[in-house]
Symmetry: D2
Subunit: 391 residues, 4 copies
Amino acid sequence: MPKSNSFKAGRHFLQIPGPTNLPDRVLRAMDRAVIDHRGPEFAEISKGVLEKLKSVFKTSSPVIMYPGSGTGAWESAIVNTLNVGDKVLFFETGEFSIRWYDQAKQLKIDAEIVPGDWRHGIDPKVVAERLAADKDKKIKAVCVLHNETSTGIVNNIGEIRKAIDSVNHPALYMVDVISSLASIDYRHEEWKVDVTVGGSQKGLLLPPGLSFNAISHKALEASKKATMPKHYWDWHAMLENNKTGFYPYTPATTLIYGLDEALDMLMEEGLDNVFSRHARLAEATRLAVKAWGLEILCKNPAEYSNTLTTVLLPEGYDADNLRKTILDEYNMALGASFNKVKGKVFRIGHLGDLNEIMLMGVLSGVEMGLTKAKVPFKAGGIMAALQYLSK
Amino acid sequence: MPKSNSFKAGRHFLQIPGPTNLPDRVLRAMDRAVIDHRGPEFAEISKGVLEKLKSVFKTSSPVIMYPGSGTGAWESAIVNTLNVGDKVLFFETGEFSIRWYDQAKQLKIDAEIVPGDWRHGIDPKVVAERLAADKDKKIKAVCVLHNETSTGIVNNIGEIRKAIDSVNHPALYMVDVISSLASIDYRHEEWKVDVTVGGSQKGLLLPPGLSFNAISHKALEASKKATMPKHYWDWHAMLENNKTGFYPYTPATTLIYGLDEALDMLMEEGLDNVFSRHARLAEATRLAVKAWGLEILCKNPAEYSNTLTTVLLPEGYDADNLRKTILDEYNMALGASFNKVKGKVFRIGHLGDLNEIMLMGVLSGVEMGLTKAKVPFKAGGIMAALQYLSK
Amino acid sequence: MPKSNSFKAGRHFLQIPGPTNLPDRVLRAMDRAVIDHRGPEFAEISKGVLEKLKSVFKTSSPVIMYPGSGTGAWESAIVNTLNVGDKVLFFETGEFSIRWYDQAKQLKIDAEIVPGDWRHGIDPKVVAERLAADKDKKIKAVCVLHNETSTGIVNNIGEIRKAIDSVNHPALYMVDVISSLASIDYRHEEWKVDVTVGGSQKGLLLPPGLSFNAISHKALEASKKATMPKHYWDWHAMLENNKTGFYPYTPATTLIYGLDEALDMLMEEGLDNVFSRHARLAEATRLAVKAWGLEILCKNPAEYSNTLTTVLLPEGYDADNLRKTILDEYNMALGASFNKVKGKVFRIGHLGDLNEIMLMGVLSGVEMGLTKAKVPFKAGGIMAALQYLSK
Amino acid sequence: MPKSNSFKAGRHFLQIPGPTNLPDRVLRAMDRAVIDHRGPEFAEISKGVLEKLKSVFKTSSPVIMYPGSGTGAWESAIVNTLNVGDKVLFFETGEFSIRWYDQAKQLKIDAEIVPGDWRHGIDPKVVAERLAADKDKKIKAVCVLHNETSTGIVNNIGEIRKAIDSVNHPALYMVDVISSLASIDYRHEEWKVDVTVGGSQKGLLLPPGLSFNAISHKALEASKKATMPKHYWDWHAMLENNKTGFYPYTPATTLIYGLDEALDMLMEEGLDNVFSRHARLAEATRLAVKAWGLEILCKNPAEYSNTLTTVLLPEGYDADNLRKTILDEYNMALGASFNKVKGKVFRIGHLGDLNEIMLMGVLSGVEMGLTKAKVPFKAGGIMAALQYLSK
């Protein structure tokens, strides 16, 4: 598009793997005056939201909500259940698994991370082996990501649960679903997860600013013996206040308005429909990538993420340059790369309030960008996606 | 998309040839309390808008604005300049040329319409001939559409002007730019148009509800002798009030807020950039249509519209069924068909706040729809568009 | 408030007698993308709105809606039912009765206006006398305002109906309810009004831009013989299209979204509650005015308007200066004055989405302004209002 | 207002001492799609906001911003500068001073709180005495609230600074300005405050969800020796990232949009004008309270808060019942009471985007409520306010 200035016509496409394109219904719900967070109207909204959240996490236990980002909910999971010096096992599946591990270490946890190649998910057998080797049951928790946002790899949370059980290990099981919740099927209760860590800004169709802990009975018991200094993240004050729809400190009212609307939207569509829509759009994306002759970072198709696809550029081509080209020329933001794959990959977010037409626009933007940035590829990826979606 | 109910994820695509997808900036500008339409703040906004409008119509003469739809501004053009029984010449280029002609007849004008086949624009030579034949100068006005929204045909307003001048005919020249203004180059003053009729809901990036008359000195002189009963549409009260930024009756305040923002956006992008963006997106659309093996209703490439493309379906296929399929399955609205081409064509609107990625989504939606509705076509139209846009 | 610049903290109070302070719910409902005005979703919204409007006008006959201001709906009432040269009777109750009369004259109606002093409503006996004197039934219509916005006088529409009937006069009865609809009880059908003229921007809680005609069977019959040139305002095309939820030309989509929400709000509150709320706030206002020792323009308490109160300043004091002082100092707009009372009165709008606390703020603003502008008055008007509202 | 149901006409008045009534400009600024928080446009907005914040805190040192509530920023102040077992001095001036003290204890700080009667602010002499007595300089920090939101008492931060300096005590000086920032004059740098703790939801005109630490050089030095486990609240990661306009974890994008607009509004009005407006509205409120014959909780006029006024009800009257009456009848929320004064006082918030007319509505609502709830009082408090504001 020839431009004499920086004005960009048309809609911006936010195709990072979260935050996502916000539905107008959610934006409008938040465009509302704040009300008294200790008054009756707020209590009613709040209790409704806390209840609806349970069905999204698929749990009958409480889900609590912080004003804060997902990183805060990671911290909360740790400080509420563990003690300084506790041994905790992480598994490297990409940048965010490392960040959580780093956070734990900074919080004086004796954290260990099982190395990974960023191209494969966690092997449940390795989990079983590591726990079996822990004869003294020193490992207090196993922390994994359901969907690793930096690589586009989904871990099999149900199978990892079975692995833990297979060796009768009592470790707490803590799972990050920040970039999979309300997009990829997840079952807090059925999979006996102890703490599930969520965030508002991805499948929950909200801006960043709220984060969540879904808490099992076992985790709650553990929290009674956890002695790390904490106040803001303390579960007990939160759970106590939540009974009446209130919070131990001022909640983020407008985000809660938006959450209420977003949860209604998810229920209207139906969670199963939400999941199959994500699966369908993800498959179309992968078909396009393969047709372009490019490689998907995730090697195991069973571990492909349905919320994002991470694409490897050919050796010698700069993914950040491609992303900049696409942002400048086509007004679309794609996901950055980190660490081991810095500059080598770009990430296409295909989650949240997205449909086929939007996705075809997104993939077209990528294909135009590949040409513009002179990355070698086979034209026609979008046709592969279109044919799949036309079925 | 499998659906258990009527919920539709993602953004709706409004690809009728107007009203158009509203930019968020415009929606937000209108989401504002009304102020006193006789107060100083309103006067300031209003005077700014009336001035900026001139640059969009490319005129130094006044542009006036009605609370009302484009049909009202058609009526205004007639009742302010003509008298009952006046002879006026129209040219059939599609449904809207006929509607304006019908309106004139209903207003007791002695209107005549030169027949057309809906596939060609107005031949300036025919205009010259018709006027040359009018020895007594009985014809008081020539009324044409710059862009015929029902067919996607652009008339050459500058050449028609020359045709009128070539036979020294004094008829007023009245032009409808409802679906071309701020999308296709148009020059009220340079082309010596006497009344230009515009509307808010297309290239001006607004909802429907405002309409415009740009008025030449000659038209203003004619209005002094026009005797049809009129009050609401009366130019003189409007022009008199506008001097101070006010209106003879309550103006549509929130739409004026939006217009102010939309005019700023058009200035930020630059009108020439707006026109070339529309030309580029239109050409991509036409290349897709041709690659599908479908026919564009407009036969003369020089008359292709840059704001919409009207596509003929193969004999025996129902365009309304195709549109319904696309609306139901892909959440995209395409333009209906009228009259002679009812059910035979559909119209793709590609005007307003649109960019390449959105357009590729639109064309993909059409291609998926053609498959879904079982219309015979050659796959790959979107690749033709993409290749053009990638250049 | 000391100010170094033009920034004004806090909310602006729009207390002209319409347009009114818009509820956030209505603003948010309009902050929505436009949809195809020929599509199924629009038809559903539109049919709902056209039906709900009937209950607000209290009629079972059709109500039609124009993109346009109230002045347009005045014009529509005239051009659809009358012919050039028809004799029509108006009654001077203030500026807007004169404007409607002037419009009729401009439309070549043989209009006559019965003079008034701007301080009294229409005497039904005078109506009866005038019609009784019309032995040949030359008078084709009687046109009155339910609520005269320039003076704050309410005419007794039911009694005027009886007066017309008492002399068995066949004239059409046309009533403007622009500033009373959905604020003061009004009954189109019970009072056998033939055309009721309404607007969006007052009790209907919307911005300006929509106007209405409620049409009796008798008016519809008259329209079949009405020969004035008209197209935009033509009832028949509108009624025909409305059957399916559509319009003969592009409707003002976003205002219709807002209307849908506003009608729901009125139904939620209940029309009778809406009326009694207006009565209560109006009475509080009048008590304040009287306690200030100022005079209400309307002399007859039975004719006091519940949507606005027009206040006479003492001889020699400039009401426009007072309004400017209040706007500049307190960020509140009050209604201007016209014609006979220009500069002598100001108008307090107390209609629409208003409650006691807002009204007390409004009256406090007036009382502070009277002091600031050095108008002689007795302090404490707000206490009179407060005592009444505290009951 | 007679009501058949729960519908409440007119605007809700949120007169708790924060969150406050949001300006439409701020709500509209937040009603915007999220953008990439790692992209160039975000960096630009973010850097601007971080810079503008400094002028509101009156500091040239960095101000950092968390997604979180004010309680989080309290925690951040503690965990970044102190160590487990450190001795810290608090001063009881109401509920929130106790809560911060409780938080510190929960975080394993050796906190001590100097008792107070909730009706007086901190006596700087007592501060000097307590610090002078600390011969071994065991006290690592003095923590005070600039404005105690539960009582409406302002502490003299400058004089307390002088008291600390008078005994040459090296304790860090930490001040909570959550309910005073951008409403009452505050000078982080001039008063040599080490950590200033702020929140978004009061004078900053935003919803809850952001909180702040303004950090002195001395505090930054202390943070290098602070060993409490922390990650989310860690200053260093935040400061490091902020250099480029980014954050160590996903920031609350839409709240930052709103903050940007709110900071512009504060600059447009001018901070000194903001402060004098608050002083003026507060004085009017106090005059009303006194005229009602009710007692202000704060006994020392020099310590009256300009953002809220806490009012004592006569013995035997239930303030919660009064608040409920006012909420139900007049659609206005007033501030709840806590702890020692539970049920005995109510709080009128008069901060944020407020003007004279709004305040007069607020005070009228209180006066009507006092009548409705049958609390004994002298009528006419609003006149005392009005007379003051009319000067």
